[in-house]
């Protein structure tokens, strides 16, 4: 048999296998399905209206508020939550800390899906979405724009994460030779991915450097890129703790015995990393506050809101993480991770939506359609995640 016939035969086998894998598994009538399916259907209808009648038909966006909830939550916040992938791959593949090896696959999958769905949600928010390809194909590159860097980085990072995850796909498809080849590419993809990630996490912050007159001074600083980068470290770690806790419960039967036993140690290690990153972030914020002499701004609504974010959702979870790691308290570590995630949502929404045009007479509030579409994006990601982990060897258990 010649090579072409072998490839065609293997391709046919894969298509057959893939179709068999598409069949739903497990119970249909679960609380998650009951909530998510109507929201996803409603979201699709809203998106149809958005693409046929324009942004104004379903959003409260305007010339004064061109960036709203979709950018603020889906893109700016979602990408911070995906930061766990570059942190964990750095720790495992570069620092060679083998303790975290069992969570690499699921973390990379989470990161990849977060980029596909949340960064992909950027298309929804563009007035002329077909122009999204311009920075890539060279039609008005816009070399001086931070968005040029961010768009290229998003694309390249998604490819790098796909390469990092591809050995799992090859393993699932029973392609041992392909898997061997793809595994050899992993370290290169990891190093490339870490470089890209560090740059575009800070690049997202750099987007707001040109909006100095619009952002409240408590949230504007020339160090926004650095703050976005450092906060993405603990955002990613907190997300892994949060997501890992849920996965550990929901996909209990898919997780190998070894991973079950090491789960607590891994969570404690991640909590330690998050505590240190939050501590550094808090002092960066304090240094910027002092340097920019913001004392006069602290005694009004915006000042109190800023203090709630920094003390309530950075300093307190930082102490909680430290206390929990020292006393091996899994409960406190999980609460701290939720608080840290809320803090990240607050920070990113403050910079991009809430404290943006803070002194404008007309305020921006997201429409119910914007919230439904955001929920649709989140639920769709969870659906795809669930489909993949129930079929592919993501949790390191031999199938």
């Amino acid at each position: 048999m010649n090579n072409t016939a072998v490839i065609v035969g293997e391709f046919k086998r894969f298509i057959k296998f893939f179709i068999s894998e598409l069949k739903p598994r497990g119970k249909w009538l679960t609380p998650f399905n009951v909530i998510s399916i109507p929201i996803i259907i409603l979201g699709i209808i809203i998106l149809y209206i958005r693409f046929t009648q324009g942004l104004g038909s379903v959003t409260n966006l305007s010339q004064q508020f061109p960036w709203g909830f979709w950018i603020g939550f889906d893109v700016v916040t979602g990408v911070a939550f995906a930061g766990g992938a570059y942190v964990i791959t750095f720790v495992v593949y570069v620092m060679r800390v083998e303790k975290y090896h069992s969570i690499v696959r699921v973390t990379v999958l989470n990161g990849l899906l977060a980029y596909i769905f949340y960064a992909g949600a950027l298309v929804l928010d563009l007035g002329r979405p077909w122009n999204i390809i311009n920075p890539i194909i060279g039609n008005s590159f816009g070399y001086n724009s931070v968005l040029f860097l961010v768009s290229w980085h998003f694309l390249l990072y998604m490819i790098a994460e796909f390469v990092e995850f591809s050995p799992v796909i090859a393993e699932w498809a029973h392609w041992p030779k392909v898997r061997k080849f793809l595994t050899a590419l992993t370290l290169g993809a990891v190093i490339f991915g870490i470089t890209l990630s560090m740059l575009h996490q800070s690049g997202l912050g750099a987007l707001f450097l040109m909006a100095k007159p619009k952002i409240h001074p408590l949230w504007y600083s020339e160090f926004i890129p650095l703050l976005f980068f450092v906060s993405s470290i603990f955002a990613g770690l907190s997300m892994i703790i949060f997501e890992g806790t849920i996965s550990h419960r929901v996909f209990r039967n898919l997780i190998g015995e070894k991973s079950h036993h090491s789960h607590e140690q891994i969570i404690l290690g991640l909590g330690k990393g998050a505590a240190i990153a939050m501590f550094v972030y808090y002092f960066f914020q304090a240094l910027i506050f002092i340097h920019q002499e913001h004392w006069a701004l602290i005694n009004d609504f915006w000042g109190y809101w800023y203090l709630i974010e920094i003390i309530g959702f950075v300093l307190i979870p930082c102490f909680m993480f430290a206390y929990a790691v020292r006393n091996r308290s899994m409960g406190i570590i999980k609460i701290a991770s939720v608080l840290a995630l809320v803090g990240i949502v607050m920070n990113r929404l403050n910079v991009s939506v809430i404290a943006f045009n803070w002194d404008a007479v007309n305020k921006y509030y997201p429409s119910w359609q914007e919230i439904v579409v955001t929920l649709m994006v989140v639920f769709s990601e969870i659906w795809v995640f669930r489909w993949i982990v129930t079929r592919m060897p993501v949790f390191n258990k031999e199938k």
Binding site: I276, F279, L287, I290, Q292
Partner: protein
């Protein structure tokens, strides 16, 4: 209310140095606190 006034970068230097020293000391304490105590044999 005008927020964009000239900032004298030397005005707050003393406080910034103090904060940095506090940070370094507290950071060492935090890392020591986070490290598990060594069990005596």
């Amino acid at each position: 209310m005008e927020f964009y006034y000239y900032v004298n970068i030397f005005e707050t230097k003393g406080l910034e140095y103090l904060l940095l020293i506090c940070f370094l000391v507290l950071f060492i304490l935090l890392v020591r606190y986070l490290s598990p105590p060594i069990k005596k044999k």
